[in-house]
Amino acid sequence: MEDCLAKKMEITVSEAEKRTGRNAMNIQETYTAYLIETRAVESQIEGQCAPVESLWRRYSEFELLRNYLSVTYPHIVVPPLPEKRADFVWHKLSADNMDPDFVERRRIGLENFLLRVASHPVLCQDKIFYAFLMKEGGWKEMVNETGFQLKADSRLKALNATFRVKNPDKRFTELKHYSDELQSVISHLLRVRARVADRLYGVYKVHGNYGRVFSEWSAIEKEMGDGLQSAGHHMDVYAASIDDILEEEEHYADQLKEYLFYAEALRAVCRKHELMQYDLEMAAQDLTSKKQQCEELATGTVRTFSLKGMTSKLFGQETPEQREAKIKVLEEQIREGEEQLKSKNLEGRDFVKSAWADIERFKEQKNHDLKEALISYAVMQISMCKKGIQVWTNAKECFSKM
């Protein structure tokens, strides 16, 4: 961890700004740009303030960075980006991407993403990542020049592998199940939380009506007037208090959302393993069948049915020269195949080893983060109770003086 970029450099996403510009299809569009500020840490120790470097990036550039990282480091659980569109909203929050609250929460999420990458032992050393932070112009070209898009596996291929792989590593199968469960349970939780927030909002806000009516009623009362009026004021305070409470809760929801999206990153690693394993199995199968073909040609026996065999039976045998040529080609292919299989095996083992190391790292991080989040949730609830107790104690005093 000492080599981590995060230790050497302060990284913040400090501002968000609305911009208009022309996109690739020359159509005018509005988007939000985010200011990334970086400052080297070392110089600060000497008592000098290092200069702040900054540049602007938009969300699509973050997406490009992440895609690049996912393809280039398939064995790493790559940190997720904050959501593209507002999801799991309860009614008061806007689902509009331009809404200032959404933009603010996204800014925080993007900063978190950069910090995650910068604290990752492997990812933080990536040159493209460093350029993303430091090099405003020409970065896109730099990424495209790596040709990472070509390395990306097709979705279809990956899906195929999932269904056809015969001997995946059991740990990965379990991990895949876990990530499915995690995704399902967190999204369910977030959905219900949003509904609970909605209802809680309703309860608090309706109490605000008391304030108005008490105030109007107090005008016609002599003895009860003061008590009513001041109780009404407390009801207004109560109704207003829910706004801050729910805003804090949104941050908690965002913490859970990060791990909802992390589940997808986990699954991506599992998929990569499946793909590699499937590739390996296909290659091994192919090699076996070629070896068999070779043997058959050499010994003249046909153990397995093949169209070539049948046609040659029907249309006459091959000449010994032709057979020799075929055997030679096959032998060459077999040699290549064996090389490939060896390297694929090695690749596979390396992948499993390094992927599993990162998964262990991720597990620890996840357990730590989620535990902290749950504790902070409990603390939030306690704070809400405290506020409630204060308001209702005051209200009770006013009522008892009516």
Partner: protein, 441 residues
Amino acid sequence: MEAEGRLLGPPLPAGGEGPGIESHLSEGALGTARGPLLAAAEVLALDDEEDDLEVFSKDTSLAEVNSFSPSVPISPSSMINQYKFEDGPELRDLFITVDDPESHITAIETFITYRVVTKTTRGEFDSSEYEVRRRYQDFLWLKSRLEEAHPTLIIPPLPEKFIMKGMVERFSDEFIETRRKALHKFLNRIADHPTLTFNEDFKIFLTAQAWELSSHKKQGPGLLSRMGQTVRAVASSVRGAVKNRPEMFTEMHNYMETFSQKINLLDKIAHRIYKEERDYFNEMKEYGPIHTLWSASEEDIADSLKGIASCIDRCCRATEKRMAGLSEHLLPILHEYVLYSEILMGVLKRRDQIQGELDSKVDALANKKTEKDQFSEEIGRLEDKVEHANNALKADWDRWKQNMQWDMRSTFTNVAENNLRYYEESQTRLHFQILLQKMPS
């Protein structure tokens, strides 16, 4: 001894204090110790009860302290909430309970009867304990008899025939129980009322057997004659009543208009809060178990998750209690005062009508100077009627306002306490959970 909380009846003028007493003594202008009680007796011709009234008012200080608690299944807390007596000699000598709803099915209809148990030490009651069964119709009858006999007194509200907004089944347990409680309150409020408590129909209601009640009901003034009165009264009230109305009653009228509006709003708000809390509860019920479900796929954080789940469950139960508090105390009280505001508007109107009778007679007489003597007696009678009506209303109004203030104070304080309990319960559980979680595993 005057109860600070709930006003039971006009205190003895000798030691009298408290709102409204000075004013109604000076207005009553009868000067005797028996004041308004006697006036009421005269107008209502409760001849046979006069002596008893005198005895009652003179000998209150010597009256036995009767601390009956009726041995019926009414929860003590609901009794306490309704009636708060100061420590001291109890003025009550009449204890009524309404319970035991029973369904009766006949060929024509199905209806519910309630058991009404009365325990009393009053002399005019032949026995000290009565048990009768009454149905809702009987209560309606009693109310209309009381309104007739005392047009400017504030007769307590009866639960409505049918409650639309709750969408409660007519004979559901919830509906019957709500109604039973309201009927119980209705009779006890009458019993507490200084004048109404001695009404003859009230006594018959409490004591007569079913057949006796039926035959008594048939003897009352016919519907037609009652209607006739109403038509005449309306006609006269349209004319003079408002312009000759004493300032005090215009103030009351204005007050009631605003009060009625506000109390109706509060009733709606309270129902809305109940609904929102119920919806919140329904969502919370689903929220907790998700955490438990999640804990099944985790190891390290399983305990934390289960901890949060139990906190949420605790919060759920606390919410249920909070809702119960609303529906048991706040909602019924607000509803009663919605009904009260209608009743009071009606009382003010009837007072106007009585005055209207007088005014129209006076106006009519102004044009016929010759017949003055003939009508002077009638005018005098009407003037007395108006004066009595005004005094009765004024006294009852002050009493009602005091009770309203007490009811509102105690009900809203109770609401605040409910909410405090809710937050305190939720909080303790959370504290506990955090402590557990912060411990190194």
